[in-house]
Symmetry: C3
Subunit: 132 residues, 3 copies
């Protein structure tokens, strides 16, 4: 039950954006225990001057291709799972779009199942839904 907010500079093609979003989702499904159709992503394309980032802090050098990914999840994952996910995500994003792994920043926010309503005003995931 995650959603992701992906922020990057305007100027990329539709197919690049889609490949980026696809790669991120594939990594979440394969390495972050995200169900195969649990996909909610927002792409926020910004103008020059609207995305400010240090070129070298704890990574880099970062380029104009820098992508900031904020993910909100519905239950905790352990540190090892997160580490595997980060590695898998940058690998898939590089394969899909050619982006340099140093240009990919990921931050995870954690909430609880009861904090989510996917639709219809229903709360979280019911047992029936998990079983179905």
């Amino acid at each position: 039950m995650p959603y992701a907010r992906i922020t990057l500079h305007k100027g990329k093609s539709e197919s690049y954006l889609r490949a980026l979003a696809d790669g991120l989702f594939q990594a979440m499904h394969e390495s972050f225990e995200t169900p195969a159709t649990d996909r909610f992503q927002v792409i926020h394309q910004v103008e020059p001057g609207e995305l400010i980032y240090d070129r070298d802090y704890l990574g880099g050098p970062r380029s104009q291709d820098f992508v900031h990914i904020a993910i909100t999840v519905g239950r905790p994952r352990d540190a090892q799972t997160k580490q595997r996910f980060y590695q898998h995500a940058v690998t898939l994003l590089a394969q899909n779009t050619g982006i340099d792994p140093e240009d990919v920043m990921i931050v995870v926010h954690t909430t609880a199942s009861e904090d989510w309503s996917f639709g219809g005003g229903r709360q979280g995931i019911t047992a029936a839904q998990v079983l179905s």
Copy 2:
């Protein structure tokens, strides 16, 4: 002390957007213990391709009208309060705008009072403010 970030596709009228924001706030006030003037909302209208979502995961079918609502609150609410709020929100949104409840997704983020400064660099809610 919540704020909400409402994300949907571009193309809706100003009155639709306002009715959406009004309905959400009314539900927060009536079912989520939000004070009558504690209102802070951002509407993020996106282009086709910038909002990616599964049509059927734990709800749906979702349409082009899909709205993603992320709410950040300043203290915890219990699961029952959240459940009532989700139900009330989709009911009011449907009344106000005609949106299908299956097109409304809500996620709640929780912080503490000390994490907020509403203005002037003052922290949280002081006792004087609550009493006044």
Copy 3:
């Protein structure tokens, strides 16, 4: 390891936006224990009607210059540190841009170090990175 999302109405100059972002970062570095080059900021400029806020709730009166700042940090700070940061931030923002402190709202979200990958798929801050 914070990132900030700064939301305000369109219409400000590039130099105003930069002075706003600079003032916020300076306050974070000087009063919020943020390293000197740990800077990641997104500016979200919105159209009229996309930013809805009460003019007087726990502050104000708020004007069209209202700025909403959401900060995500990688470890907790105590309440006093937050209070000092809020005060320092509105002071620097007023100096840099002339903005009324009552027009500045700040909300802090807290995560853990393991929730961050700054680049290359590496997790958090390693001991080597802190020492280097």
